[in-house]
């Protein structure tokens, strides 16, 4: 077990708390950098999706895990990012401009969706965001003159300053760079006053407000940042699949995105990436397993059933998600043989003030 002996304030602030973290994250980044030359085309494609969904997961994690606002409408922001990118590219706008536009436009709509969040909580907010998802999906389907409706939109490979990113490796490095930048931006935000205000809103709105946190401002801000990241993810997604149509951005997609957050572990940035990886890898595992299962079990409904069971299993047995599980395993090794079973048990908060609700 490692004890960090703090002798100055900077040690509380810096991103890497000790040299061990620098080593392991450095190793991870090195492995990711050389990955294109080691893995085949199929694995590469899965890595694309994991990185894209990581960015989306980070956005949703900020909103759900750190600000405590639920959203069942994030597929709408994915769609908005994807369509903004597709339509701007079709009109000849270069990628370095269209990507920020996709993020900005998503952020604007995120801000608008944040406004009802000022009055709604919990399940009611979930319903409102769900309605937003349905509205956006419907608008994209019906507004055929702009979006092409159900005919969808085709995208060409990304070109940055005359250099084409048509190859898998080039697109991979773009996704990787954007993912790392997103993670850094989130980490920076969470260790500064804005991030603390988000967490304060999550834990107790009433005392956040009494400490001078402007609830309206920070809730809408959280929605906007979350939507911007999802919009960036959407733009990359559009380029990855090269063809987008409204049925890719349904409520089911939104629920899958929330699954990333819950499986990964609510309230951790690691969780967003782990959840995304899990969401992409699980269907592959299921399709491998299908080869060994009798025909009547390996039907098309198998994936939905497995997803449901996994989700319920996590909520019941591991509410902290994959990251929580990893923390336990790590602590077990660090403290061996002194790990106790109840170490991570969550305490019921008692004496919560009821009279202000």
């Amino acid at each position: 077990m490692r004890f960090v002996f703090k002798t100055n304030y900077d040690q509380d602030i810096r991103l890497f708390k000790h040299s061990g973290q620098v080593f392991w994250y450095g190793l991870l980044i090195a492995a990711l950098l050389v990955a294109p030359s080691l893995v085949d085309e199929y694995v590469m494609s899965q890595l694309h999706f994991i990185l894209i969904y990581s960015i989306v997961g980070l956005g949703l994690m900020l909103l759900v895990g750190f600000t405590g606002q639920i959203s069942l409408g994030h597929a709408a922001f994915l769609a908005i990012g994807a369509y903004t990118e597709a339509l701007l590219q079709a009109r000849g706008v270069p990628f370095v401009i269209s990507l920020p536009c996709a993020a900005l436009f998503s952020a604007m709509l995120g801000f608008i969706l944040g406004l009802p969040a000022l009055r709604l909580k919990g399940i009611y907010l979930a319903i409102a965001t769900l309605a937003f998802n349905v509205i956006v999906e419907e608008v994209i389907t019906r507004w055929e003159s702009l979006t092409g409706g159900n005919t969808g939109q085709h995208l060409k490979p990304i070109v940055i300053f005359g250099y084409s990113l048509a190859s898998d490796a080039a697109f991979y490095y773009l996704c990787l760079a954007l993912t790392i930048l997103s993670i850094l931006a989130m980490m920076n935000l969470l260790r500064s006053p804005t991030g603390r205000a988000f967490v304060a809103i999550r834990d107790s709105e009433i005392s956040a407000s009494c400490m001078g946190v402007n609830l309206a401002k920070y809730k809408t801000l959280s929605f906007a940042i979350s939507a911007a990241l999802t919009g960036i993810g959407g733009a990359l997604y559009a380029h990855k699949v090269t063809f987008i149509s409204p049925e890719q951005f349904t409520l089911l997609q939104s629920i899958e995105l929330v699954t990333i957050v819950i499986l990964g572990g609510v309230g951790s940035l690691h969780g967003a990436v782990l959840g995304a990886a899990f969401l992409i890898v699980l269907p592959q595992l299921i399709s491998i397993a299908k080869d060994y299962l009798p025909g009547n079990v390996a039907g098309s409904g198998l994936q939905a059933v497995v997803f449901g069971v996994v989700l319920i299993g996590f909520i019941v047995f591991e509410p902290l998600g994959l990251y929580g599980r990893w923390l336990k395993v790590r602590t077990w090794f660090e403290l061996f043989p002194f790990y106790r079973k109840g170490m991570f048990r969550r305490q019921k908060s008692y004496m919560k003030s009821e009279r202000l609700r």
Partner: protein, 267 residues
């Protein structure tokens, strides 16, 4: 110019008049305590000052600024901090993070600077931590600095909440029953801290409290409420022996010699 005053403050919930025509004035640098039996409207007055409830009538004036009609978060920005009777901490954050939230009104960095974590953000963060560390020293919280609030005992949480309010460097501190749920030693410590806050930091304290030992030890003046109305105001001794106060606590028939002094025990 008065430091803080409440003028003819009132609020009704449906047919219930919770606070009725209450006026008082707090002088700079004093400890002013509101007492009264359960349901007298003490915490309601705090919630009115914090703009958690909109006042039905009256004004709340802090350094010549009328609070009524402002947005809720503006109260803290003006320099009024509060604690809650039943503790409202950020459960899933560490003690240090809780205290840093108290510094929210002293933030100076913009969103873009924070995302890039520029040098100015780093310097601001270090300055915030230095300020918080002073509060940690004062309240003796160093031992708990990096622990999560969710696992800490009640008495410690109570102190953390006081610390969070102090971290905002308030000019007026509202304490809602600082001794509730504390054992006698912890209450004793709380009394020392309130005196420290008043004398050492020069912060004016407005407090709601039941424990009459604590009240008479730290308060400069006391206001007694009953059923939303002011029934007495003065020094702790004056208010304790006021006939209307005795009647409010013990009922009209009980005003007879054997029962005095009636308020020496905590209720």
């Amino acid at each position: 110019m008065s430091f803080f005053r409440v003028e003819k403050l009132g609020i009704r919930f449906g047919g219930v008049v919770a606070v009725d025509d209450v006026s008082f004035e707090v002088k700079r640098g004093e400890v002013y305590t509101i007492i009264g039996p359960n349901g007298a409207g003490k915490t309601t007055i705090f919630n009115l000052i914090g703009l958690i409830y909109p006042a039905s009538s009256g004004r709340i004036v802090f350094e010549d600024q009328d609070l009524t009609g402002l947005a809720q978060h503006r109260v803290a920005e003006l320099g009024i901090a509060r604690t809650f009777q039943n503790i409202e901490l950020f459960e899933h954050a560490t003690v240090l993070q809780n205290l840093l939230i108290g510094r929210h009104r002293h933030r100076s960095t913009s969103l873009w600077e924070e995302m890039l974590f520029t040098g100015s953000v780093r310097r601001a963060e270090i300055a915030q931590r230095e300020a918080v560390e002073k509060v940690i020293d004062l309240l003796d919280l160093a031992h708990y600095r990096d622990s999560r609030v969710a696992g800490l005992p009640y008495g410690v949480r109570k102190v953390i909440e006081l610390g969070r309010a102090l971290a905002s460097e308030p000019r007026l501190l509202l304490l809602d029953e600082p001794s509730s749920g504390l054992n006698p030693e912890e209450t004793d410590e709380m009394a020392f801290w309130i005196e420290d806050i008043k004398k050492g930091l020069g912060v004016t304290v407005l407090m709601v409290e039941h424990d009459m030992n604590l009240v008479s030890r730290v308060s400069d003046r006391v206001l007694a409420l009953s059923e939303g109305r002011v029934i007495a105001e003065g020094t702790p001794a004056e208010v304790q022996s006021h006939p209307a106060v005795i009647e409010a606590y013990l009922g009209g028939a009980a005003v007879s010699p054997p029962l005095s002094p009636p308020l020496s025990a905590s209720s």
